[in-house]
């Protein structure tokens, strides 16, 4: 049996492809791009919430938030490690990130001007990420699937923490409730955009579905997210800012409006409200750290020489 046929059979029988297995170059490339993009998202995703660590309004919230942002760095590490099993190099991927040649999730190009955003990101953004990621726990490439299992577990924990912060704030003062609503108003549409453009306009999807790198279409996942989120919003006591949002008994799903896709494409193109800032921040951290990484390398070479 030839390599390609064996690969196809592995995929078809829902078994996992492992690093030592033969795989088509297109599969490898698609995976590296997708996992790297996911890793970059975790790293850039540290910034919008990291923005609030020094200003968290209680010591308990400060500890929760710092631990969460630290987890994101950890997720980035697992995912970069998964790309390395495919022959990629972390330094090279980082270079592609900071020069804008590889993307990350556009949601992180939105600013976090309010402490309520910490809760709303946990609830809506992590919630949307989980909808996107749970199917990836069954993705065909083994190291990626295993990383996703661990990541999804932690993300669910983060989502619950975010929702719990919002419940606490909604049970607080009028000012706190207003903060939560204002944040939901800002993040609702960007959260819907996290599933990507409508299926009709999406590229790359078909092959990824066939290879079981991806397992659901953008629109399927978006619908799932909306259906899941509406009762949570009701429980919380916030209004989702979509006048078209209503239950459709016939479909057994919620109908809802469309995000502003022009804004979406602008943000993807790098003109997001905080896009330049995010990349500049990452680039500066990387460049400022160059002398440290270089010193560590030289030191370890010296040590190896001596021993």
């Amino acid at each position: 049996m030839d390599l390609e046929a064996r690969f196809e059979r592995t995929i078809a029988s829902e078994q996992r492809v492992e690093p030592r297995d033969w795989m088509p170059e297109g599969y490898r490339k698609t995976l590296v791009r997708q996992i790297a993009q996911h890793a970059h998202s975790e790293i850039i995703g540290m910034q919008p919430e990291g923005n609030w660590i020094t200003r968290a309004p209680s010591l308990r919230r400060k500890a929760i938030l710092l631990a969460k942002v630290q987890d994101e760095a950890g997720h980035g590490l697992y995912l970069y490690a998964a790309t390395e099993t495919l022959g990629a190099d972390r330094a090279d991927l980082t270079e592609k990130l900071i020069t804008g040649r590889q993307k990350y999730s556009s949601i992180f190009n939105y600013p976090t001007p309010s402490y309520a955003d910490v809760g709303v990101i946990g609830w809506l953004v992590d919630g949307a990420a989980i909808c996107n990621q749970v199917p990836l726990c069954r993705t065909s490439y083994g190291p990626y699937a295993r990383a996703m299992i661990r990541i999804c577990k932690e993300e669910s924990f983060h989502q619950r923490q975010g929702y719990e912060l919002l419940l606490t704030m909604m049970a607080g003062t009028d000012a706190q409730r207003a903060m939560v609503q204002e944040s939901v108003d800002r993040f609702w549409w960007p959260a819907l955009m996290m599933f990507g453009p409508p299926d009709a306009e999406s590229t790359n999807s078909e092959q990824s579905l066939a290879w079981r790198i991806k397992r659901d279409t953008n629109d399927e996942l978006r619908q799932k997210f909306v259906d899941m989120t509406v009762p949570q919003a009701e429980k919380l006591g916030v209004t989702l800012p979509d006048p078209e949002l209503r239950w459709n008994a016939e479909r057994g799903h919620h109908d809802f409006g469309q995000p502003d896709w022009d804004e979406f494409w602008q943000v993807v193109k790098g003109n997001g409200p905080a896009g330049a800032q995010r990349l500049a921040h990452r680039r500066k951290a990387h460049e400022d750290g160059e002398w440290v990484r270089e010193a560590a390398r030289v030191h370890s070479e010296k040590k190896r020489g001596v021993e």
Binding site: I53, R60, L66, A73, M169, D288, E290, H299
Partner: protein
């Protein structure tokens, strides 16, 4: 126990303020592994701060919990040493080497102090100290490894590591001010020998800069802080103070 409130407050404030400083590195470290490590250290210190401030509040008996003490005291009521409040990077006032220089000195000192507090008459403080000892030993070793790497690495890293120690050195003597809970002369000789050993391994010289003088003899422990402290507190306390009556 006499001086217990003040003691818990001072050690709690040290940890709180340094955690705040270290948290500024989050997403700005030289590599991802170090981002994780610095966040870990900040989380340990934040945990120590919470326990110590809670204990201080209990001892005081005026109904102040950790958040009342952290968010509603004014600058002159904070009792941390200057060493933890000064800016050492990443944004201004230093760089990664300066941050590591401070961490080495501070964690060596705090480890020596906590080791001695494990036998303190207050069982709560003794338990906090016992838990902290393991954490601080890790912090100290982490810092020491970096000092050696940077001291020994490149010409640039050696220069920066030297400058980092010169930046923090004037604030070191305050750590050894007489304290009713611990024999600080004893702590000093322990810290000196740790730091000297690290300097030796790193090929660095002990800095020769003198101590920062005080304001009528007073420094951080007496509530007189450097100008960096006011900005740190404004940032840390602003959200809490601007939403009076809120629960978090």
């Amino acid at each position: 126990v006499d001086g217990l409130f003040e003691g818990c407050l001072a050690l709690g404030d040290d940890a709180l303020v340094l955690a705040q400083r270290l948290a500024q590195w989050c997403s700005r470290a030289p590599e991802l592994e170090e981002d994780v490590a610095l966040a870990n250290i900040a989380l340990d210190l934040l945990g120590q701060a919470r326990l110590l401030l809670t204990r201080a509040g209990e001892v005081e008996g005026a109904g102040r919990g950790e958040d009342a003490l952290a968010y509603l005291r004014d600058e002159r009521e904070f009792r941390n040493v200057h060493l933890v409040e000064i800016e050492c990077g990443p944004l201004v006032g230093g760089d990664f080497a300066t941050t590591i220089a401070r961490l080495l000195v501070f964690s060596s000192w705090r480890l020596a102090v906590f080791t001695r507090l494990c036998g303190h008459a207050d069982p709560v403080l003794a338990a906090i100290a016992a838990k902290g000892v393991k954490e601080l030993a890790y912090h100290r070793d982490h810092a020491a490894q970096w000092v050696v790497r940077l001291g020994d690495g490149t010409e640039e890293s050696h220069r920066r590591m030297t400058a980092g120690f010169e930046r923090v050195w004037p604030y070191v003597p305050e750590l050894f001010d007489a304290d009713p809970m611990v024999d600080m002369a004893d702590v000093r000789s322990e810290v000196d020998s740790v730091v000297d050993a690290v300097f030796g391994a790193a090929g660095l010289e002990r800095p020769s800069v003198g101590p920062a003088s005080r304001v009528n003899g007073r420094a951080g422990r007496a509530g007189v802080h450097t100008e960096a402290m006011g900005y740190l507190l404004a940032e840390m306390q602003y959200v809490h103070r601007s939403l009076p009556g809120a629960r978090w």
